[in-house]
Amino acid sequence: MADLADVSILVLGAGGLGCEILKNLAMQGIPDIHVVDMDTIELTNLNRQFLFRESDIGQSKALVAARFINEKNIMGLGGRPVVVTAHFQDLTLLDRKFIERFTLIVSGLDSIEARRFMNMQLVRITFESRFEKCIPFIDGGSEGLKGHCKTIIPGFSACYECSLDTLPAKIESYPLCTVSNNPRLPEHVIEFLMSVQWAQQHPDRDFDFDSKEDLQWLMDEAHARARQFNIDTSKLTPQFVLGVIKNIVPSVASTNAIIAAQCCTEVSKLLYNEYDIGEAPNFLVYNGDDGCFAYSFVHERVSTCLVCRESIQ
């Protein structure tokens, strides 16, 4: 790896994992850190995203996170101060030249598509440079008390695409016959309203998740329909309904701390030449639901992977 004082790292996402990753990298003394995130701060972020306060609600996560760390005046490697640069934008619009300047990329995103985009860019960089340039990509993910950390050495070890089949299957949707004719659960009621009744009543526009009126319509109709089918309405609170329609996953500070730290340990091992490509486990899963369980293993490259299969080159 390059001289430690010249290291620069790009962090994808300034959410629950992102805040932890940024803090760790700063404490590890990484002098040049960039963060990209297009989200703004919301109230429900504050149970874990410790770089933000209530007065920051509505502002850019990337900008506020960078400001918070920069104000700490942390001294980094090589006597250079730690500086975080914010990019308040969609990361899939970052150009190749920009990505190429980083030593490493660490991701704390919740979007699979954004990770696939970055993975593809990085594999191409390795191939097009004929293996001269290789930017390791470390990917963290968390949900509730569970999480994972993947270390990808593009072109050398399993890429993000190679491991996509390890993702949990999408939540099954309910059969249309059940939701329209035989609803039994509050979830069935909501599914019917969102997939059938909204379009019938509002053929001209989509449901707006941020509109108070639309949410009120949903609450009112949900209660009416639940009563019609004698379904218990006590579960139909705004929190529950929003959880179902937005597919909100639980998230806590502790899991984010664990996963982000594992990602940053991988950063240290890569920077200090303590990482054994091909030998080191590149996939760690964590589960704190029952005891404290972590398991790591070597995920092999998939020879038919459409992204990192070399014959494409």
Partner: protein, 447 residues
């Protein structure tokens, strides 16, 4: 929306309340302590007692107490300096719900090692290595373990009387093809079992499947019937014995014989002894109280409502009987706790924590089972405070900086275990975890 919405989805308002009123004592003015504190202030713990060693000054941490106050203005931080005379007495500790031991000051650890203390999480780290240990003088009980793949509690093999009445009220032989398509799978399995019993056929997986298919054929030709497909998928529920007490509960029975000081644990042990009486009560029919929760079953809304009501009625009858027994044992157990216990009784858990803070002696025991873990533990048990002493500047100690994530990871684990212990939700660590960041391994050992 609530600031805590994302975690209330995990442990609910009652869990949040337990967390917000818990008295947590953190020993050691360490980097690890500062990270743990952050991870506990964020989810809403508010009552902290922080004990600082006099022996050394630590290096700069990322967030100080002022930063933490800005995260939650209701949080209180009581700071005190180590006082061997005062704190070497068990009286000093008894009001804390949880102690978190992060200090590397050997004299501090030695002063409290032999005291009977409230539940404690002991932890330490160095370079890529760390350990966390759940220490307690009593077992730890969990009512809500939030198991993801719970087996439905339907009692199809021996429905208690109120459920039996419901199942018998349906006569599949008199139903039309359309009505058969509306039968929930539990009803199908019950009647398949019944006809096997009437014909004196041996009941096993294949005979039950044949019987379900025989009933299914009556609906053919016709559209695909999801309820019969579900009946085959869940036929194992018909082969269970509802009088069998699950192993996790048997473990609780044996652990509940010890005296408990933690209020939740003592309430739990009262409920366990009440449960033994309940099982002797005639109306229990030798079965555990019914949870009343049933899975979704393919059927009409009316049919599903009917079966759900039958289960809820039976569960509430069981609950009343059980509550009477609990109250006669201990009148102070709140009904909400009894109710919670009843709905989770199949999945309650008991955990045996370590009896003491890890010593070098323990390393020898661990070595016989997991040598790699023992080597790490030995290093950490002996590890003094060289890492935490004051740094003239970051530059000079830059080699150490790379290990910061280990501290952060361990703080995440300790905070998560702390929340599990304080809320008695989710099963905590039993009883020691050893982390090797270099190899990417986590070992779990019992001291």
């Amino acid at each position: 929306m609530d600031k805590f919405d994302r975690q209330l989805r995990l442990w609910g308002k009652h869990g949040q309340l337990e967390l917000s009123k818990a008295h947590i004592c953190i020993i050691g003015n360490t980097l690890l302590a500062s990270e743990i504190l952050k991870n506990l202030v964020l989810p809403g713990a508010t009552k902290f007692h922080l004990i600082k060693e006099t022996s050394y000054v630590k290096s700069d941490c990322f967030l100080d107490v002022e930063d933490l106050k800005s995260i939650n203005e209701h949080a209180e931080f009581n700071e005190e300096t180590w006082n061997a005379h005062l704190m070497g007495n068990q009286e000093y500790w008894r009001y804390f719900d949880l102690i978190i031991l992060t200090t590397r000051d050997v004299s501090v650890i030695e002063s409290i090692r032999c005291l009977p203390m409230p539940p404690m999480l002991a932890c330490n780290w160095r370079e890529y290595h760390g350990y966390a240990c759940f220490v307690s003088q009593e077992p730890h009980f969990v009512t809500e373990c939030h198991r993801q793949h719970k087996s439905p509690d339907l009692r199809i093999d021996k429905p208690p009387q109120p459920l039996l009445n419901f199942y018998e009220s349906i006569k599949p032989s008199q139903l039309s093809q359309e009505q058969l398509n509306d039968l929930p799978f539990a009803v199908i399995i019950y009647h398949a079992l019944k006809s096997l019993k009437e014909n004196c056929t041996k009941i096993d997986r294949s005979s039950l499947r044949i019987e379900i298919r025989r009933l299914h054929e009556k609906t053919l030709p016709g559209p695909e019937c999801l309820n019969f497909i579900e009946a085959e998928r869940y036929l194992y529920l018909g082969l269970q014995d509802s009088e069998i007490i699950p192993d996790n509960l048997l473990k609780c029975f044996s652990l509940a014989s010890s005296e408990c000081v933690v209020p939740f644990n003592s309430m739990f042990t009262d409920m366990i002894s009440s449960l033994k009486d309940y099982l002797k009560h005639p109306s229990s029919e030798h079965q555990l109280p019914l949870s009343g929760l049933i899975p979704d079953m393919e059927s009409s809304s009316e049919m599903y409502n009917a079966i759900q009501e039958a289960y809820l009625r039976c569960a509430s009858k069981n609950l009343n009987t059980f509550a009477d027994i609990v109250t006669s044992h201990n009148a102070s157990v709140p009904l909400s706790q009894i109710k919670n216990f009843c709905s989770n009784v199949q999945n309650v858990r008991g955990v045996v924590p370590a009896s003491h803070i890890p010593t070098e002696q323990d390393c020898r025991t661990v070595k016989q089972i997991t040598p790699a873990a023992a080597a790490i533990l030995r290093k950490l048990v002996k590890s003094k405070h060289e890492l935490e002493t004051i740094r003239p500047s970051f530059v000079e100690s830059r080699d150490e900086l790379r290990y910061y994530p280990t501290c952060s990871l361990l703080a995440g684990i300790v905070a998560q275990e702390a929340v599990k212990i304080l809320t008695h939700q989710f099963v905590p660590l039993e009883n020691t975890l050893i982390y090797d960041g270099k190899a990417g391994q986590v070992y779990r050992v019992k001291l």
